[in-house]
Symmetry: C2
Subunit: 409 residues, 2 copies
């Protein structure tokens, strides 16, 4: 009880085989920003002609790197791009020095790769409020540039980790117009995870050709269905960044209504989002909360998040206690429309409660048996309308306390 397990029990069997994306290279090096003896600076390069889109934390105290990315992301360019990420230090709430560090790092990368600093994006993740030792990063930039390789994506996934217990990757190869189109992405994140976005860094690449405005539109829409519907602890970070790069090297151009591309991209994003939840600090259970029959989609999301963020629901899940009364409580407190006598609650397929009370067909034994599974579904129908929303979360365990009462993040 309370010990930090080496790898989340919800981790996938291993890092997936990801398709190599022509025109995207990766490298990770040891700079000793905070962690010693591990790769903590990751460099990614996109070929000339690539489009880049991004979504970012909405925190009012967002980090210098996020502010810098937001300033650069929309500008049209065909010069290629680079992304540099350090772990161990968030460079957030570091005053004017924060922006100076970002400028120093992005300038160094630009010089090394022959790019203007306006095409170098950066992310920092780790402790808030400590000056970024950017000299340590800059001294390793040329080593990173030399190590760039199209096969380095797993190194990159390792390099961006902080408290993550496993490296996260997801990919897909689809066929469009008879040609293969590849998507591959990596993510980090395990605590301070909540809409909007969480301490989460995500980098996804495709060899499709997509104009920047369309790439941004698709990314924003799909984020609302994926990364914005996960929550570990309701806390939102100052550093959340999701960048999506499209190289065009497949020769396949994507237009507005290409559902094959959109669906494949959504699947990769959802896979990564679920992996972040499965690495939720201390998580032992993965929980899908699906709310239907709400007065509106937004109401459904409010209810789903109230359930998913409730410490009492999350501790009940940790204790394998089919405590549906706490689900009722969470619905009641959410503030969105609900009628006690119209709502129904299911754990998986088991009808637990309806007509304002426990279902006559429900048995505590069936509920208790269901709760022993590692992946759980809490399904609520409000009986009011057509609004629906699904969010994903994990349980709240002793290990979360152990990690966060000690780790300085």
């Amino acid at each position: 009880m309370g010990e930090i397990t080496h790898v989340s029990p919800l981790a996938p069997a291993g890092f997936p085989d990801l398709p190599e994306i022509e025109g995207v290279e990766f490298a990770a090096v040891e700079a000793g920003v905070k962690y010693q003896n591990r790769k903590d600076v990751t460099l990614m390069r996109l070929v000339e002609g690539s489009s880049l889109a991004g979504v970012f934390t909405k925190s009012a105290t967002r980090s210098a790197a996020v502010l810098d990315c937001q300033e650069k992301i929309g500008a049209p360019s065909s010069e290629g791009a680079a992304i540099i990420v350090n772990s161990g230090n968030a460079n957030a709430f570091t005053g004017r020095n924060g922006m100076e560090s970002v400028a120093a790092v992005t300038n160094a990368v630009g010089e090394c790769l022959g790019l203007p600093a306006s095409r170098v994006f950066s992310s920092s993740t780790g402790v808030i409020g400590e000056a970024l030792p950017h000299d340590r990063i800059i001294s390793k930039v040329s080593e990173a540039c030399e190590a760039l390789s199209t096969s380095g994506i797993r190194d990159a996934a390792e390099g961006i980790r902080t408290t993550d217990t496993f490296a996260k990757g997801a990919g897909s190869t689809i066929e469009i117009d008879g040609k293969p189109v590849k998507i591959a992405g990596i993510a980090k994140g395990s605590g301070m995870i909540a809409p909007d976005m969480a301490t989460m860094l995500v980098y996804i690449f495709t060899d499709a050709q997509v104009e920047q405005p369309l790439l941004q539109k698709v990314l924003s829409e799909l984020t609302d269905q994926t990364f914005n519907n996960i929550t570990v602890d309701s806390d939102t970070s100052t550093s959340d960044t999701l960048l999506l790069g499209a190289t065009g090297t497949s020769g396949v151009e994507i237009t507005e209504d290409n559902s094959v591309f959109r669906d494949a991209l959504r699947d990769v994003m959802l896979d990564l989002a679920h992996q972040v939840v499965k690495d939720g600090e201390g998580a032992t259970k993965f929980v899908e909360v699906a709310v239907t029959g709400a007065a509106s989609d937004e109401d459904a999301r409010v209810h789903a998040l109230a359930i998913a963020n409730s410490p009492l629901v999350k501790t009940a899940v940790a204790g394998e206690d089919p405590n549906w009364g706490r689900v009722v409580m969470a619905i009641g407190k959410s503030g969105a429309a609900a009628d006690r006598d119209l709502l129904s609650i299911r754990f998986g397929d088991i009808l637990v409660a309806e007509n304002g009370w426990v279902s006559p067909t429900y048995s505590e034994e069936a509920g208790a048996s269901y709760m022993k599974a590692q992946e759980l579904a809490i399904n609520v129908d409000l009986g009011l309308g057509d609004g629906a929303s699904t969010v994903w979360t994990c349980d709240l365990t002793h290990c979360y306390i152990t990690i966060n009462a000690d780790y300085r993040s």
Copy 2:
């Protein structure tokens, strides 16, 4: 780590000596509603001519007893009143049976005390979703009626406990127009505590004479400064009830602008509210979060609650880690107006951060030393306006997980 301590380390030295209120009697009996071998049914009687005011949970799934109280509370009456409380079962989300149980219990009390059921109020606290075994309560009503005594308030405070680790009472005797006026109250609550109101039952009595509409107005206003500004775990219960009875037996009539009475009542309410936080499940630290300089009072409250409810702030407090970066994070995520470069953060009197970064005068040693205290103050000034709000919370510990991963509430 994780064991349930017998009594909260934040508990007061003992139950206070409370003034006896003429015209208010108390009794507690063992009915075995759920708990065995402890008093679990509490009866309180108010003399003829008493006024009664109440505030209740806003949960959309509130309990049958709350719905019944809300229906009865505003009706003018000079017939006296009774309050009956059971612990162990919340009679919430129990369908139509729930209202039938309330009617059965309040009718039985009314018959025993010669009161119409419309003047018998009830509360139930404990497990949600299980039928209230009201026959067990009814079979003990006459025993409770016979045991009524003006000196029984401590028994009542014991009888309403569920997971509370100590009985909670507060009182005051003031002088108005040369005559003594007494106030005495009891409370229960330790988990599922959040605005609005939490799993909290509070009963306060005074021998002042106050017309019902004024009593209700004062109670509602003071609740917003006291019980609605505490949070243990952000979860709101289906059963929260605060009743305030004024017997008039002191012969002192209170009018609208009596600040002596209002201040004394506020002090009693705040004392009880703080005791609820100090009995927060697993609490080892009591934390005051005071936000000033916000764009509005409401913005200040949003920021204060974002800090007080943040699992990452609460675990840092548990770990005695002066992790002010998490306070920055919580301000950033709250959604209310903030400017990174204008806000300042103090732990007690220690200036921690200002001008968008750690203060040059701050030392980690001073912060770490401060965090070892049992009572802490996190003070944030936003530098934007005159809005202010103060809320109170506790830390998030292993013991909270232990209690809530096992206890069926």
